[in-house]
Amino acid sequence: MDALARSNFIGKEAQPDAARPWIFTRPTAKTGIVSWLTTVDHKRIGLLYGMSALFFFLVGGVEALMIRIQLAVPNNTFVSHAVYNELFTMHATTMIFLAVMPLSAAFFNYIMPLQIGARDVAFPRLNGFAYWVFLAGAIILNVGWFMRSGAPDIGWFGYAPLTSKAFSNQFASDVSTDLWIMGLQILGVSSIIGSLNFIVTIINLRAPGMTMMRMPVFTWMTLVTAFLIILSFPAITIALVELMMDRSFDTNFFEVSKGGLPILWQHLFWVFGHPEVYILILPAMGIISEILPTFSRKPLFGYPIVVFSGACIGFLGFGVWSHHMFTTGMGTVATAAFALMTMAIAVPTGVKIFNWIGTLWGGHLSMRTPMMFALGFVWMFMMGGFSGIMHSAAPADSQQQDSYFVVAHFHYVLIGGSVFALLAGIHYWFPLVFGRKVSELWGKLSFWVIFIGFNTTFFPMHFLGLNGMPRRTAVYDGNMGWNTPNFIATVGAFILAVGIGIYFAVMIYTYFKGEKAGRDPWDGRTLEWSLPNPPPEYNYAVIPTIHARDAYWYEKHHRDEIARENAEHAQAEASHGGIHMPSQSWFPLVTALGLLGGGLCFGCKDAINATMSGWGMTGHNFGILFAIGFGVMVFLGALLWALEAPGGYHVHAEEEKH
């Protein structure tokens, strides 16, 4: 091991390197605000993602409640048309990009490396960067609430040509659409960076013996989702660049008066937008595929088929985008092709449900709160799947498209599906992350209130849609037969809000005062449960060796064999100087701040230029000049990131406390 012995890393402890200028030294704070701002620990980054996502989940929830108040009675005046349009645009954008996606990312970050027996992700600093860039995008999207332009009001799908300057700036200068473009673009950067990191991690950092077909299903779904993200986001990136060029530099990709093609936007958007649906649901399916076996105390039924159907959904997900466009006059053949493809995607989705039921069959089901949410997921996702099949029949869809029937459908998939699974996941992994267990009574109570509130809100919407109520309408008349279902839906929304309130109140109480959980509280099957809780910074004192699919279950039933192997590994690792850890860094944050400033200045350039000319300074496009300034900051951040000390230090795992 001569090469290793000469390695730069060996034997160095975490301390500033006196030989380098301060700017190139790596921060070492282990506690306090600096430790969080410079962190490269995948668990801390996971928590940052989780906390931000839950914050935006509440923001999006408040927006939803305001929408429901407005629609509680016909001809309501709670908010104006303009504000209502901002609310539904931002509710969707927030829930998709700022709540569900980052909450999934939180699980990817925290759980996935633990599940494959890794000590961190492949590129720790890049991981931190992905989070800070996400936060920058989130701020840019929401900053409009505090500006005269208001928040974006073009719908989360931003159909051209409503997004063009000719319409958004008709009566007043409006930068909300520019901010929406910059915000989404920057969020895309974050998602792609994060996904590349996860892919490299899963391919390269699996513990010895963990073959692809021994990976936990959640890790598999992380991998599939990451591929979906890196393949689908380029489409919306292109669309957003074109729109930005149209708005900022008078190009004519979508400008009708110059012969642009608005339909082009729809294709680009949904080539991204439909895989995005699976980006939201596949992590949820992964979580469910962990919880059901654990609480049934038997392996997942048909593991290879569940994995392949997940990958199959990923592939087919790229071939169905135009089912969002059945009413755009695509012609008979295209409509038929997309209808059949959409029906085809129901098969692998159905397979998953069959296998989950097969997992329960013959098991010993312990009805703990995570299991309740997981079963709730299966029921609700099934309902959403059935209304999805109804949409695949294009002629029926021509009546349902853009009606409340669609609203009911995708909330069954996204709340009953994604959100239920994420709530299940929080309950499931809470003891591992925080070392405390949530009270069963309160957990189950929150489940039932959420379950009842959710169905009360969204089931009546099926009827509203079939009765002809279109989406995205701020007011409706009282003579259309829509009054009762709308009122019930609003009542349901408040029940749902109470349920969510109980859920988080209980979580906060448990964090401070909850019952301490021992190691492996659920009799877990996957590797992360072999760790003490909360897991140490280096995760595994000894990198485990994997012999079977449910690695920890195997370990628990073959203790002697595993102990012998671990002792050998520990010895080998000690001879390399101990556990190698990555150093913290300021530059992910600095570079992301550059993107934040640049995005804000470019998005607000009209407002900035107007302000500057108010001060008597004209003749330059100051917004773009400032944005270029921040661009230099991004460049310098990345440069210094490359030049800073390589860092890395070793720790020696103490004798583990049990």
Binding site: S80, Q170, F171, I305, A336, H364, I389, S392, G468, P470
Partner: protein
């Protein structure tokens, strides 16, 4: 002897009780599908075909649901741990799956989807365009979406000297005949949706879309824009009125006439008016409903009634209104064929008095509502071009830098005159 529990009667009573309590739920459910924009109470073959496909999907998915959900419920109840001891017994057999079960379930799903796919494909071709054998009998209209109203053009109805017949917000079509609607837009994307007659098709810039429909009966149908199209999307509505052959021909003949004038001199001696109006305007709050139960009880009858001149009309007031129509620059954007105005920015008003609705199908065409619309348009339909102006035309307000200042004011008295004039345009 053990006393025998009367199980059967108890069960029967329980079932009956359940049925009775479920009744309002079920019937409530049906009444939720009976609105004027119901997609299931159809009034034409296109919508009927689409509803038929929907019902196929419903029955197939309900059948799957019963089987799958039944199994899920059974498995959950049958295999759940009933107490703490149950949870701590030795784990169950660690089985990994069964390929035969998997394959047969996949085959069953594919079969279920084929049942849906066949009628779906048939209906895609049927609903796309008027069937060949009916093309000879087809009537064609052009519909154009604007922020936030619809313009309807009858390309086959030529009017000497002024092109084709144009109407707005109320599309009158012949019943019992296939009607092809060519869908266009000049600004953003809109969607043409009359649920009882046909599913929606979008109006997309630079794209020639169309749909077809056929009203089984003469009648009055509600429609609405179904694609988000900006601030006042929610209030972009319209109506379709289907007439039988004779009525439709009569309607066309009347529509081709220029705007109606009321002979003032002949009537002045009988009714010397213009001092007071036939209604008293009461201001209403923003978003106040513009419909009445009285109208909804017989919308088609009201439409027919609306075609007749108002017996109470006041020629002096109407003449004053006609002057104001020019003075207040209404004529810059609106056309009253044969009278003042050749504007094409706003809806054609040649026969506005004969329509049952105003403001893009939002408000019933009553004096009260007309008054509300022309005195305070931005509170009825926020962001509209009548208020803000467009292109070279100034509206009720005009831009002064970043602020807006009043350009047109309509006093209460002037509004009365304008209302009388517009209502006389039968």
């Amino acid at each position: 002897m053990m006393p025998v529990l009367p199980i059967r009667p108890l069960l029967r009573r329980a079932l009956l009780g359940l049925a009775v309590t479920a009744m309002p739920l079920v019937f409530g459910g049906w009444s939720w599908l009976e609105g004027p924009q119901s997609t299931l109470q159809t009034a034409g073959p296109v919508a009927a075909e689409q509803a038929k496909v929907f019902y196929v999907t419903v029955w197939v998915t309900i059948s799957i649901f019963v089987v799958v959900a039944g199994t899920l419920a059974y498995a959950t109840l049958r295999f759940r741990a009933r107490n703490a001891a149950d949870e701590h017994v030795a784990p169950p057999e660690q089985s990994h799956g069964n390929p035969l079960i998997e394959l047969s379930l996949i085959a069953a799903s594919v079969l279920a989807l084929v049942i849906i796919a066949v009628p779906t494909l048939r209906a895609i071709w049927y609903s796309y365009d008027v069937p060949e054998e009916e093309k000879a009998n087809m009537y064609e209209v052009n519909a154009t979406g604007y922020q936030w109203w619809f313009r309807f053009e009858y390309p086959k109805e030529q009017i000497d000297g002024s092109g084709t017949l144009v109407a707005a917000n109320e599309l009158v079509i012949p019943a019992h005949r296939p009607v092809r609607v060519n869908l266009r837009t000049t600004d953003v994307i809109h969607s043409f949706w009359v649920p009882k007659l046909a599913g929606k098709v979008d109006m997309i810039p630079n794209r020639g879309n169309h749909l077809w429909l056929n009203a089984d009966q003469p009648g009055y149908y509600w429609g609405q824009c179904a694609e988000y199209c900006g601030e006042s999307h929610a209030v972009m509505r319209f109506r379709v009125i289907a007439l039988d052959e004779k009525d439709f021909a009569a309607w066309l003949t009347h529509q081709k006439q220029p705007g109606r004038t009321v002979a003032a001199a002949a009537m002045a001696d009988e009714r010397p008016k213009a001092q007071f109006a036939s209604y008293k305007f009461t201001p209403v709050r923003r978003n106040a409903p513009g419909w009445t139960e009285q109208f909804d009880a017989d919308p088609f009858g009201h439409w027919k009634q609306q075609q007749q001149p108002d017996p109470e009309e006041d020629p002096v007031l109407i003449a004053k209104g006609r002057q104001l129509f020019t003075q207040k620059t209404c004529a810059g954007c609106h056309t009253v064929r044969g009278q003042e105005g050749a504007g094409r920015i706003g809806p054609d008003l040649t026969h506005v008095g004969a329509r049952t609705t105003i403001a893009g199908g939002l408000l019933e065409n009553s004096p009260q509502n007309l008054h509300r619309w022309i005195t305070d348009p931005n509170n009825v339909k926020p962001g509209n071009k009548m208020y803000y102006g467009t292109g070279g035309m100034q509206g009720y307000v005009k831009r002064n830098g970043e602020t807006w200042e009043q350009n047109i004011t309509v006093s209460d008295e002037e509004a009365h005159a304008l209302v009388a004039y517009l209502r006389s345009l039968k």
